[in-house]
Symmetry: C2
Subunit: 301 residues, 2 copies
């Protein structure tokens, strides 16, 4: 048997959400590579921004991303860019996400190689962020992006904001890019049988990492006004370590002290099958289960 | 977007489990087709039988199966065949199983086309069975195979056992073949915290279809002597209609009347991801979930 295919996802954000011809030029490199699959691209006119979702084997994906970055630099001039979303570059942010047969460590290496190659080829300053960050204060994208395109001219002159790759000054038209690796996010919300937002907030505080909860859980309370209920709205930042069923059961237990039940839950957007299968295996008490027993795992090898 | 790919599985059983060269000749056609993937082939020397697991798009899979049937007819002489497993032909049985974007009805059509083409090409008598059966008494393979290779010479002369395709007499060296469509089987066992086989048997009777239980569940009680426990051992014959969590919960409720708990459960062999994701969605109370939200579904399109 040959080595199983490695699959990585990339979700680059480009600062162009209005001009269809420019958008087409940017996404074209994701269409030509054998193992690369363009899953989605969504443009937002108000944000003047486009989010691309693409999956592929590491080498092909690397090439395609670097090509698309070049196209974005060709067609976007940040000096003319206006939109509601915070942004600092023509290619604003390029997260790589391990999908299959790919440890996070290799995904970090891939992100650094793309950062190095793209910074050399385009003379572009690049910050590494998330799991690829060189300093803890660079893990969070918001810290890097603070000041945005206009403010980064000065920010890059400060030694602690020297880019990880490329020159210590912004690209005149393309600004600055952040590149990094992170685990897949699962957007998971649990709906409570109450309209009391305070209760959702309190439960969110108990289950989220920052205030003492589960390591890979971010949570806030949110009102669903049309349904007259509230929800604990979460981003699960590593479902392989903080399983969905665990946060679901914790919320159930916390809600019980208020005499409140769980109405339902929601998964927003895409979810890797393992995130759900782990929960099925827990509730069904499956012994010695392996993901290799899932037919679809075998089909994708 | 082009039409999503249709995927069908085929698990043909060939009456050759000993001679590696013959086995290689039979499986070769499954290696050459673009969309066809040979997932597994297991030979059994005692049974003198080989079970092939192969997946592909309908047209390619059809061609490959018909080619492999021809190879099996070339290299197997049923007059010389001995083995422990009941058998009636060189290609004993050819089940087709819908995997993706493929309704059972289309899979039935595919099985009939393979039956027609192969019977014409090889002058082979073919019975349709399972969901493709032309009469209720032909649904069950055991009914068709009764008499085995040696007994079928006479059986085929009786009007009610006239084959669905091909001549009303056995192929002199290749015997008779059964071809049909069925839903994927999930082999699912639930282990009970008791060594009392009678209890497992009683619960099996309550959950299985034949004695009043769930429509797509076959069940028996089984002893696990090395663990000193018993299990309800099941074949779930259509997980899309009889979900795993439903039979698990029924067994839990029935075990409670004996004061007995569930130790765990087992999934034997391969399972389609949806069978487990349906159970996760139940326990996590996920609202409005669609299989299109599973990343792997998108990757396979």
């Amino acid at each position: 048997m040959p080595d199983p295919h490695k699959l990585v996802e990339c979700v680059p954000n480009f600062s162009e959400g209005r001009n269809p011809e420019k958008i087409e030029q940017i996404v074209t490199p994701f269409r030509g590579k054998e193992t690369v699959k363009l899953l989605d691209y969504q443009r937002d006119e108000d944000h003047n921004r486009m989010v691309v979702t693409v999956v592929g084997e590491p080498d092909d994906l690397k090439e395609a991303v670097i090509e698309a970055m070049g196209k974005a630099i060709d067609v976007i001039d940040m000096r003319q860019h206006h939109g509601q979303h915070p942004r600092m570059g023509a290619i604003d942010v390029v997260p790589f996400i391990p999908i299959k047969n790919m440890p996070l460590a290799e995904t970090i290496d891939l992100s650094k190689e793309v950062a190095r190659l793209a910074s050399e080829k385009y003379n572009l300053p690049v910050f590494l962020y998330e799991a690829s960050a060189s300093h803890p204060e660079r893990e969070n994208l918001a810290n890097i992006r603070k000041g945005e395109f206009e403010g980064l001219v000065e920010k890059l002159k400060r030694p602690q904001w020297r880019p990880d790759f490329g020159p210590a000054q912004i690209h005149p038209t393309a600004g600055v890019t952040a590149i990094g690796a992170r685990m897949p996010l699962v957007a998971y919300n649990v709906n409570l049988d109450t309209d009391n937002l305070e209760i959702a907030d309190q439960i969110a505080r108990k289950v989220r990492h920052i205030s003492g909860g589960l390591r890979y859980c971010k949570a806030i309370g949110v009102e669903l006004k049309d349904r007259a209920i509230v929800q604990v709205s979460m981003n699960m930042t590593d479902y392989t370590r903080t399983a969905l069923y665990r946060v679901f059961e914790l919320i159930r237990i916390e809600a019980e002290r208020y005499g409140i039940g769980i109405v339902g839950s929601e998964i927003v957007g895409l979810v890797p099958m393992q995130a759900l299968i782990d929960s099925a295996a827990y509730y069904l008490r499956v012994e010695n289960f392996s993901m290799d027993q899932v037919l679809e795992t075998r089909l994708m090898e």
